[in-house]
Symmetry: C2
């Protein structure tokens, strides 16, 4: 069948796969994706053909998947987290009209926002925004504007790509923007590193402390709203403002 | 063991359960929750004790789970979607200090935002906000402010609880706010009803058309940003603003 499944495998190991994702991987002849993610799931499907490539080769990977499907194979393009959230579903669908015989099916998965939230407690229990601090594909001015408006709106915030070797001070700048919009320095925040993978670590801290924190690209960051509370070491945002 | 798992079962049937959720349900002696959700998963675990209750009885349900765990049983409190996103994890954790012997473990699940997005294509491919239009627990002024700021920030939007018999014009008002903030009337939008359940339906339409649409509480609504495009009937928000 000329088909590409674009499959979100969740944040870590096989225990995060949904039944729907498992069925798509099972139905595929080729598993392709970024090396690390394919290595996480390939052992579940011994004998299946794999095709891996490195970071920043997203468009080539989409084309490879579509071309391979055009030649008659069923391909699973695997993504970390949810294939639709900063994932490969979007570029794959945009390229797909060039391959009219190929059907694309999007399979959702647990994104870091949701999986990391469960590790911390329930920081996203009410309205929230997800913002990537990566300026690879988005001008920094746009990111800054979104941070400002999300802070003004009293949204709980989840930040993807909060840091890297080249962008050491992005999280600091983000915290300063949120503070400047009036969110209190003692607002409860948290981060989770390597969600669902070996070496998972998590920490609760205040917004003032988060500004000084060094985090890397394997970390997901949460900034609470004014109602977010520390309940015996868990970060909890209540479901509403009425009691 | 004195334990409550608060388990997100995803939007519909068993195919949306993660392995982690299945393990938690398996490890539990009692499955409790809103009747509809318990009925979706109880057939997978024949013979397990169940305890169901109706809408609006969330706090009683949390107390029942904690009290039952305190008496020595392992309880799974099941939620639709993700237990942490407008789910039961938050009220359960807030009540949990009253039951010091009971451990609470949060198990994430596919929330409607992510699962519905996969049905439409990839509408949440970049920064996004999730906002509930229900004013049961949140003053309408807060909801309105968030809609305004999210529109200004060029976020893709996902709206939960967009309508009910008592709140027929909430979605219309929300669309008018987003339009008033300058989002174009031909912005691509979409909705999915009964995600992952029998009778799942979906539709793409413009923001101007969405304003006139009648939707119910089983529907999740998506409003694109200025880059969101219709790719052969799929709603796709590109991953960034640079090409």
């Amino acid at each position: 069948m000329n088909k590409v499944f674009v499959v979100g495998i969740g944040p870590g190991g096989a225990e995060y796969l949904t039944g729907q994702a498992r069925a798509a991987l099972e139905a595929s002849q080729v598993l392709c994706g970024y090396t690390l993610y394919v290595e996480l799931i390939a052992p579940l499907y011994p004998g299946k053909e794999t095709h891996t490539s490195g970071m920043r080769q997203e468009l080539e990977r989409c084309r490879w998947a579509l071309e391979t499907a055009q030649r008659g194979k069923t391909v699973a393009l695997v993504c970390s987290g949810d294939s639709g959230i900063y994932g490969m579903a979007s570029p794959l669908l945009i390229l797909s009209p060039e391959y009219p015989e190929v059907a694309v099916e999007v399979v959702a998965g647990l994104t870091a926002a949701n999986a990391g939230a469960a590790v911390l407690g329930a920081p996203l229990g009410h309205d929230f925004c997800v913002i990537s601090l990566s300026d690879l594909l988005t001008p920094w001015e746009t990111i800054e504007k979104r941070l400002r408006l999300a802070a003004q709106g009293e949204f709980a915030l989840c930040l993807y790509n909060p840091g890297s070797r080249k962008r050491k001070d992005f999280l600091r700048t983000a915290c300063e923007i949120v503070l400047a919009e009036g969110r209190a320095p003692d607002t409860l925040c948290g981060w989770v590193r390597n969600i669902g993978r070996p070496g998972e670590t998590a920490k609760l801290l205040t917004l003032a402390e988060l500004r000084e924190e060094q985090v890397d690209m394997f970390t997901t960051v949460y900034i609470g709203n004014s109602t977010t509370q520390n309940v015996q070491g868990r970060m909890v945002t209540p479901r509403g403002y009425r009691t």
